[in-house]
């Protein structure tokens, strides 16, 4: 490194600051671009999740509205009660029409008046009972409708929660989307710092009182100059070094 630095010419002295500046600038720019890329990816991920959650919410709303339309309100209640009452009434009629009369027993058949009274009382009882059955039927249908809607909503909610639970992991992944640019930026920054360091080292060698590395000066002693002898025969100067190699 010292050798490079002491290339000594003016070109290198200008080049190093330029490399340092360019490297640092490029590194900073790439890091910013990487950060922006990560931010965009995270924003997109969050937006995608928001859109999916809106879809879940929309689906849940549809399930709820469907239940409202089909199971809730006086109109639906009356319809369901009417169906239940009609069903019960038809069943009563079918059973009671099939009953055996008293004629086969040897008793005199019911006279019209008694028969009318019987039919009147039975009809009243059937009407009252079928109306009550209508309430039961409505309650049953209401419960079943709410249960089914609740089940569907539960599935939707669970899916929504499961989807949302992945968001932290997705954001973590998206946050690393700009890592390649950030890494490249770091590399350029390092180059810039290295160049700056080299320039600094070179500048240190050019201070006024410092010994200057100049192979052209005869008899120049390096930092080993305090040694009065060279017992191991190592080259002491750069010229000596060049002469050997």
């Amino acid at each position: 490194m010292v050798y490079l630095a002491q290339g000594g010419d003016t070109n290198m002295g200008l080049l190093l600051p330029l490399i340092a500046l360019a490297g640092t600038a490029a590194g900073t720019g790439l890091s910013m671009a990487g950060n922006a890329q990560s931010a965009r990816a995270m924003n997109n991920t969050a937006n995608d999740e928001l859109i999916r959650q809106q879809e879940f919410s929309k689906k849940g709303g549809q399930i709820y509205q469907q239940n409202l339309n089909q199971n809730v309100g006086v109109g639906n209640a009356q319809e369901q009660m009417g169906q239940g009452a009609n069903h019960a009434s038809a069943l009563y009629q079918a059973l009671q029409n099939a009953q055996t009369g008293g004629n086969s027993s040897g008793l005199t058949a019911l006279n019209p008046q008694t028969q009318a009274q019987l039919q009147g009382r039975t009809g009243q009882s059937n009407d009252a009972s079928s109306a009550l059955q209508g309430y039961n039927s409505w309650q049953t249908q209401q419960g079943l409708g709410n249960q089914l809607a609740g089940t569907k909503l539960g599935v939707n909610t669970t899916q929504s929660q499961a989807d949302a639970a992945n968001l932290p992991f997705l954001l973590q992944g998206a946050g690393r989307a700009g890592e390649s640019l950030q890494g490249l930026g770091s590399l350029f920054s390092t180059i810039g710092m290295g160049a700056g360091l080299l320039k600094g080292l070179n500048g240190l060698g050019q201070t006024a009182n410092a010994p200057r590395i100049d192979p052209g000066v005869s008899g120049y002693q390096n930092d080993f100059s305090d040694l009065t002898s060279n017992p191991y025969g190592f080259p002491r100067t750069f010229s000596q070094f060049r002469a050997i190699h």
Binding site: L91, G106, R176
Partner: protein, 263 residues
């Protein structure tokens, strides 16, 4: 590095969507089992080996081949057969009502016949078979019969509604299992088992003495009262008031008229 992260996210989303699709398929499968439709049956277990010469089906009973079949097999969602499910339709519940009524009504009519026989015998013994008392007794018995038939119809409807609630509960349970397992094949097996259980006839006990109240109230008191009224209207000195109650107590013992005093 960037590509790797994108791939990770894609895999997370893909797994999530796959699980949601499985749950959606399972929900549709439950719909078809409970409301009627074609479904796949006999899931191929993971330890089994696919036989290329055989036909395989997805959860909704569609024929699948090749990569699609292999993919479903790897998810445990491949079925060896298909089956048309009838579902729990209104007809299903109506059949259950009829099944109960077919069970209960013969018992109602049997008991009615016994009561009618007792009433006829009693009236004949009293020589009242053509009287207004006979009309009232007969009308009262018919009204009681209608009341009992109505009661049995209500019981049948109640059983049908109980069954609907049980089916609804079972469906909710299976849906919960589906969410927890996200495994339509396993849920399908449970649903089919539940469906077969609901289709089985219930164990019913004999109805008991349906006309007991009528026999004890009308038989012991009302007929006697009516007869007394009839006699007093005719200014005759007959009275059943002197008849020991035990003579009529037998009338209500089994809800059947035993012999009277022979009036």
């Amino acid at each position: 590095m960037c590509m790797g992260n994108t791939s990770d996210n894609s895999q997370i989303l893909q797994r999530q969507q796959q699980q949601q699709a499985q749950v959606d398929t399972g929900m549709e499968q439950l719909n078809r089992i409970f409301q009627g439709g074609m479904v796949g049956v006999n899931p191929l277990t993971s330890s089994a080996v696919m036989d290329p010469s055989k036909s395989y089906y997805d959860a909704l009973g569609n024929n699948v081949t090749g990569d699609q079949a292999q993919n479903l097999f790897s998810q445990g969602q491949l079925f060896q057969g298909q089956q048309q499910q009838q579902g729990f339709t209104p007809d299903f519940y109506k059949n259950r009502e009829n099944a109960y009524l077919n069970y209960a009504n013969p018992q109602v009519y049997q008991q009615y016949g016994q009561q009618l026989g007792g009433l006829t015998k009693n009236l004949n013994n009293a020589g009242l078979q053509h009287s207004s008392v006979a009309q009232q007794g007969q009308s009262s018995l018919l009204q009681e019969l209608n009341k009992q038939l109505q009661g049995q119809a209500n019981t049948a409807i109640g059983q049908s509604q109980d069954l609907q609630r049980n089916v609804g509960n079972e469906r909710a349970t299976l849906t919960s299992q589906l969410q927890q397992s996200a495994n339509p094949a396993q849920t399908s097996v449970g649903a089919l088992q539940a469906a077969s259980q609901f289709s089985a006839p219930p164990l019913l006990q004999p109805l008991g003495n349906l006309f007991q109240n009528w026999g004890s109230l009308y038989g012991a008191n009302n007929l006697q009262q009516n007869y007394n009224n009839l006699m007093s209207n005719k200014n005759q000195n007959y009275s059943l008031l002197n008849v020991p109650q035990t003579e009529f107590a037998g009338l209500g013992q089994n809800g059947i008229f035993s012999s009277g005093r022979g009036y």
